[in-house]
Each structure stands twice: as structure tokens, then as C-alpha cells.
């Protein structure tokens, strides 16, 4: 992966709208063949950053290069190479689906003889066959989203910028679109924003988290997940005197905290253990229970999820 050239380079980007600072000193790279997930709560600055990368907005300070071209100086070159799906896929309501694809392909400079086959391919890839002859105003939210995606892909761009590509889609469509993005992401560069966390784990090679305009974390989904809270939490359900069990669990090597969660019955309690290494600890818990002759009815280790990382990094007191 390291050998691949950076297709998107962002350096110390600043952008403010009046008093509000939307993007503060953000820097990151996206390499060729990489799918980068852009995470953050609403109004964190994701859309603004994407708009700057696609030449819709300019920045106040900083540098951004896309495909080797400066976003501000060589805007047309950048726009030629980027496919962009804006948030909530704005479209001309009075155009037909094919008409709209034709309009964009013409402006994209796709030669006339290739256009028809390219459009047919997009209709196929994005599953637009059934609605091909309809007007965009008649389409449901999910189909509009697909038309928007088709428009961003029609010129076969090297770089794709997708702002919440799966919003408005039903669960089956979400799976399809994720597969599509993964497939595209193998040879192209994709940056996608979302606030659906499982989506990131499924589709993205790398994640950056942005909050109130600032970059707060970056890494692979696994790296980010293991960073938070030492890694693993273990759920235990033991039948035995509560105080005795708790202190015994706390005494195990590697345990950072024990919290009592709930009593199932009078003497059966649930506890959550936090630990840096889950594998050996589950064994320790089991042996402990056997030694003291406590009935162990549940024992499971869970990796800290991206959700926890996300909420820890972006929560507002």
C-alpha cells in the first residue's frame, strides 16, 4: 500500500463561514486504490471538506491537491478526474433519467459514439433498468440516490468523492452499493463520508474522524477500535456471592476495571471486565470459577467497537 502514490493530498485546510469555523487545520492523504471513510457527527465539516476537494467551495487557507492537481489553481483538471456525489444527490427534477445521464456525459466530454454504451453500463451497474424512462421527479429517494451515483461514475473517474452514498437506500440496496464501492475501490481512489459506523468497517480501508472541523483520529478501522479503552471488554455471568466474586475478578492479572451490571437472580450477577488482552483473560476467569466452585453461565469477550471510539472522540460533555 505504501508504494501507491497519494491521489488526494490535503494540507492544513481552513474554512470558515462568517463566525463559524467549519474546517480547522485538516490534513490527510488518500492513496491510490484506497477507500477512505470520512466519519463525524453532523455539521462536523465533512461536507465542507468534500466540497472543497470537488472545487465547489474554496478554502480560506491551506492546500489541497487531487490527482496531482491543485484544487484552486487547476480546478477544471480536478473536476475532470473526480466523480462527485453531493449530499442527498441533487438532480434536475424535470429531466428524464437517460436525458440526465446524457447531459452529464456530454459535459464530461465523453465522445458521442461511446456515450450510449457508457450510459447503458451505468443503468446496469446502478440498477436503473426499471426506471430508465421515467422523469427524475417521479423517482423515489433511493432511485434518485442511484441516479446521483450513476452520474458520478459515468466518466469512469480515477477519484470518487461520495457524500453519504447510502443515505435513503433500503438495507438490500445498501449492501449492493457497498459491494459496488468496494469493487470500484480496488483500482480507484474513493473517499466517502458517512455516519453509519458498520458501513465503515465493511467498506473502508482507512478511517478519519473529524469533529467540529478538527481531525481527531485516523487509522484502519481495527486500529481505531483497539485504541479505545485498552481493547477488550469481557461479559461474565457468575453465580456466587457478589462482593467475593467482584474482588476475585479484580484480582486477576490484566484486568483494568470491573463493573457490576445486573443481577439475574438473587446470587447470579453479571459483570463487565475491561482488559487489554482478552484471549488469556477468559481462560483465567474460567479457572477462577472452577477453583471457587462458582457456576459460570456466560463468558464472552468483545472487541471495543468503532461506535465506542466514535462516541468517545466526538461526544460533547
Amino acid at each position: 500500500m505504501e508504494a501507491q502514490p497519494a491521489m488526494i493530498e490535503v494540507r492544513n485546510l481552513w474554512k470558515s463561514f462568517g463566525e463559524t469555523v467549519a474546517v480547522q487545520d485538516v490534513s490527510f492523504d488518500v492513496r491510490k486504490g484506497e477507500v477512505l471513510g470520512f466519519l463525524g457527527p453532523n455539521a462536523a465539516g465533512k461536507t465542507t471538506t468534500m466540497r472543497i476537494l470537488t472545487c465547489y467551495l474554496s478554502a480560506d487557507r491551506g492546500e489541497a491537491r487531487v490527482g496531482g492537481y491543485d484544487v484552486f489553481e487547476e480546478s477544471l483538471e480536478v473536476r475532470r478526474r473526480v466523480g462527485y456525489l453531493p449530499e442527498s444527490a441533487p438532480l434536475y427534477m424535470d429531466q428524464g433519467v437517460v436525458e440526465c445521464l446524457e447531459f452529464v456525459s456530454e459535459l464530461r466530454g465523453i465522445p458521442g459514439r461511446e456515450r450510449a454504451s457508457r450510459i447503458r453500463r451505468m443503468v446496469e451497474v446502478c440498477g436503473l433498468g426499471d426506471v430508465m424512462h421515467k422523469t427524475i421527479g417521479q423517482l423515489s429517494r433511493g432511485f434518485r440516490q442511484r441516479v446521483g451515483l450513476a452520474l458520478s461514475l459515468v466518466h469512469d473517474p480515477d477519484i470518487l468523492v461520495l457524500d453519504e452514498p447510502t443515505s435513503g437506500l433500503d438495507p438490500n440496496q445498501i449492501v449492493e452499493i457497498r459491494d459496488l464501492i468496494r469493487r470500484i475501490g480496488r483500482e480507484k481512489t474513493v473517499i466517502l463520508s458517512t455516519h453509519i459506523l458498520p458501513e465503515v468497517q465493511v467498506t473502508c480501508d482507512r478511517v478519519i474522524i473529524i469533529d467540529r472541523g478538527k481531525l481527531v483520529a485516523s487509522g484502519t478501522p481495527e486500529e481505531l477500535a483497539s485504541r479505545q479503552g485498552g481493547g477488550t471488554s469481557i461479559h461474565v455471568e457468575i453465580q456466587g456471592p457478589q462482593e467475593e466474586v467482584e474482588s476475585a475478578l479484580r484480582g486477576l492479572a490484566g484486568v483494568t476495571s470491573v463493573s457490576w451490571k445486573a443481577a439475574k437472580r438473587a446470587d447470579r450477577h453479571c459483570y463487565v471486565l475491561k482488559a487489554s488482552d482478552g484471549e488469556t483473560l477468559t481462560e483465567e476467569v474460567f479457572r477462577l470459577a472452577v477453583r471457587r466452585n462458582w457456576v459460570l453461565s456466560k463468558l464472552s469477550a468483545e472487541k471495543a467497537s468503532l461506535e465506542e471510539v466514535f462516541s468517545a472522540l466526538t461526544s460533547r460533555e
Binding site: 453531493p86 434536475y92 429531466q95
Partner: protein
């Protein structure tokens, strides 16, 4: 150039994607025909003076109606984000929109050719003022359109775009009128007379095709289109 053509086609077609275009043209022709023909036989003269006398006032309503949608709707639907992130230059978009609206209004004006044909069948009109009048109509229509298009870019509300466009066209039209000139200090009179959209129309309408009038209209069109391009550029810095 090819981009302008693509944008032009899209904008021109979208006039006809809704019934508005047909209503627009029909109302324009019926109103103009009625206003002209009611006085025509009373006056008993084979000329188009009544038509060209009314045209600037009719344009005040029709032209802002033809331009109000052009930017305001894009802003409202958010499609500027789709359009302006495509590899097109700002001036290509502005020209595409302008030419589409110009062709649309020209089509409406051209359909009124039935009037001079009727007049010619009934009498023996002087062709000079008619040709001049139509040339003036296209030029003045273009000037109003460039103003209306610019105003449409300032708002996302089509009604606001219509009203502000109407007022701005009206002001540009009357600054050269006699009663305005009357109340001005002497040294300002020639300036205002030159700036007024109406006074140039009158001189072309007499059948005197003066290059100064043509240059005036072309520079008004150029100025407002330029302003429009600058405005779009400035939105990126907002």
C-alpha cells in the same frame, strides 16, 4: 463551445418540459395582439407603432418571468453543486442559460410576425420602422434577459427573482424617460439619456439603425452577464 451548446439545449428544453412555456407564449401573443388590434382600426393607419410602443412594457413582465427560474431553481434544489463541480467554466454556464432564455423570448417575439403580415396585407406600411422595431425588440429583450438572469442568481426564491428583475428592468427603462430627465441637473441629462433602455429603443424603432444604440445594448448585455459570472465565482469564496 460544445459545453455552451449542451447547456443551451438543456435549458431550452426545460422551458418546454412544463406547460409554462406554452402558457407564456400564448398569453404574450394574445395580450399583444389584442392591445394592438383594438386601436388599429380606430387609428386607421398601416403601421406597427402601437405594437412597438407596448412591447417594452410587455417585456417588463414577460422577460423576468422567463429568467426567474434559471438560477433560483438550481439554488433551491441544490443542483448548482452538481453543475458547478462538472468540468465547465462559469462563463459557459452563464452563456448557455442566457442563450436559451434569449432563444425562448425570441421565439415568442418571432411568433408575433403574424401582426406585421396582417398589417402588410391590409395596407402599405413603411418597412423601415418594422424591421428596426424588431431588431430593437431583440436587443432590448437581450438586455432585460441579462438583467433578469443576474437577479435570478441572487436569490433562491423565484418570486423574489421576478419582482426584483421587474423593478431593475423598469428602473433601467425609465432613467432615460422625459419626466426623469426633466428633474435632473443639466449636466446629468446626457448621461441618463444614454443609460436609459427606452430611449435607444425609440431611436431604433424609428427605423434609424445607429451603431451607438447597438453598442449600447450589447454593452448592457455584456455587463450584466459579466456581473453574473463574477457573482458565481464569488460564491465559491462565501
Amino acid at each position: 463551445m460544445r459545453n455552451i451548446w449542451t447547456l443551451f439545449k438543456k435549458e431550452f428544453r426545460s422551458y418546454f418540459n412544463s406547460p409554462i412555456a406554452y402558457i407564456f407564449i400564448t398569453v404574450f401573443l394574445v395580450v399583444m395582439g389584442w392591445l394592438v388590434m383594438t386601436g388599429f382600426f380606430i387609428e386607421n393607419r398601416a403601421s406597427m407603432r402601437a405594437f412597438f410602443g407596448l412591447l417594452p412594457w410587455a417585456f417588463l413582465f414577460f422577460v423576468p418571468a422567463a429568467t426567474m427560474r434559471l438560477w433560483a431553481e438550481e439554488k433551491k434544489l441544490g443542483t448548482t453543486e452538481l453543475l458547478m463541480t462538472l468540468p465547465v467554466r462559469d462563463h459557459e454556464v452563464v452563456l448557455g442559460k442566457f442563450l436559451a432564455s434569449f432563444s425562448f423570448v425570441s421565439l415568442a417575439v418571432a411568433l408575433s410576425f403574424s401582426l406585421p403580415i396582417t398589417v402588410a396585407a391590409l395596407g402599405n406600411p413603411d418597412p423601415g420602422p418594422i424591421i428596426g422595431g424588431y431588431l430593437g425588440a431583440f436587443l432590448m429583450g437581450g438586455a432585460y434577459l441579462s438583467i433578469g438572469l443576474f437577479v435570478s442568481g441572487l436569490t433562491e426564491n423565484q418570486i423574489v427573482a421576478f419582482i426584483v428583475g421587474f423593478v431593475l428592468c423598469f428602473l433601467m427603462f425609465i432613467v432615460g424617460a422625459e419626466f426623469v430627465l426633466f428633474s435632473l441637473p443639466h449636466w446629468l441629462v446626457p448621461v441618463f439619456k444614454y443609460l436609459g433602455l427606452g430611449s435607444h429603443f425609440d431611436s431604433i424603432g424609428r427605423g434609424v439603425i445607429d451603431s451607438r444604440d447597438i453598442i449600447y445594448y450589447l454593452s448592457v448585455i455584456g455587463f450584466f452577464l459579466w456581473l453574473n459570472v463574477r457573482w458565481i465565482e464569488s460564491r465559491r469564496w462565501a
